[in-house]
Symmetry: C2
Subunit: 185 residues, 2 copies
Amino acid sequence: MSATKAYHHGDLRRALLASAVDAIAESGPAALSLRDLARRAGVSHAAPAHHFGDKAGLLTALAAQGFDLLAEELRQSGTDLLEAGVGYVRFAVRHRAHFEVMFAPGLYRRDLPEVTAARDRATAALREAIARNPDASASDPQATRLATWSIVHGFATLWLSGALPAEVGTDPETAARNVIPLLFR
Amino acid sequence: MSATKAYHHGDLRRALLASAVDAIAESGPAALSLRDLARRAGVSHAAPAHHFGDKAGLLTALAAQGFDLLAEELRQSGTDLLEAGVGYVRFAVRHRAHFEVMFAPGLYRRDLPEVTAARDRATAALREAIARNPDASASDPQATRLATWSIVHGFATLWLSGALPAEVGTDPETAARNVIPLLFR
DNA sequence: CCAGGCAACTTGTCACTGCCAAGATTGGCA
DNA sequence: TGCCAATCTTGGCAGTGACAAGTTGCCTGG
């Protein structure tokens, strides 16, 4: 915890993950460099490999962390399904780095128990939010779940990709509030 | 066209783009290597740079090509809005490499006229498909357009990311046909 | 108190990549 | 025919991920 770093960093793993989030938010996951993260943390170029094995290992840890953050966001969004959807979009925008990695297969090992467990927690949270909504518990619950997930995920992804026209505005949550209700009118 | 390659390849630009599509479909955009593409085409390691400038230049050309393919797919899907949505999903699955690059900002220069023009053609095709649908020309056409784009884009993205549960099945178009109508019931 | 074991980190190296500069080759056009 | 511009090659540099082997320091058991 002291300012002068001894031989042992003390919290390298956490520091590397935090730096990775910043770096990805700035330049995207493709531009991420383990050596750059090591420099930011003031350690040698091979130190990250000790904690994460390789680059995919680091992104795997990041994805797992992201699914847990998403689950928390969905749970804090209250009982309203619209608010859960807005929460999903808010998570994607606020935790852009996590979100981009989470849904980029090939960047990390998404079959590791560390990841699958966190992803299951997030999908369970989404499922609960949908189950609480009377409108949504329609004839085909699975299709309803898929449609809800699709519309919020699609909106979030399109927003982040910059593909949406300028008329949509500058506030993603407001825009999402206008779009999501069309599913449940 | 001859089997023995002369000094001039003859169709290098097209060959590189085709190889890039294969390579990305196999290993994702992050693992793409210009030198590997050059090897596949049987040319020197610096040949790609002549046609595309740099890696982002190649991906820019690929994205533009993708938006044109998408516009064509949407136009061929007929007048039904559901079919246009299914066409969107079909495009994403069949042209996975193009799709992944198109909506990955930071990988290419999406403000170049080459790209913006193609993207405008694709959005125009989607807009026409929606305008043809009587249900969809509701009170707020912009929100309707956004919701439609979001649900098909979200479903396609989730499908490609492998995040969907196994119960959804193995055929993306069939699954999409069950999900998309929930928007317009 | 201290021996030794283990986790955290370093140093050194290799193959590979993107990018740049300079040169070689060729097809087409005046 | 001669020249020129587009196309492609050769060579080289800095940066990267991964691996191997060594170093440091903490911590525990006796």
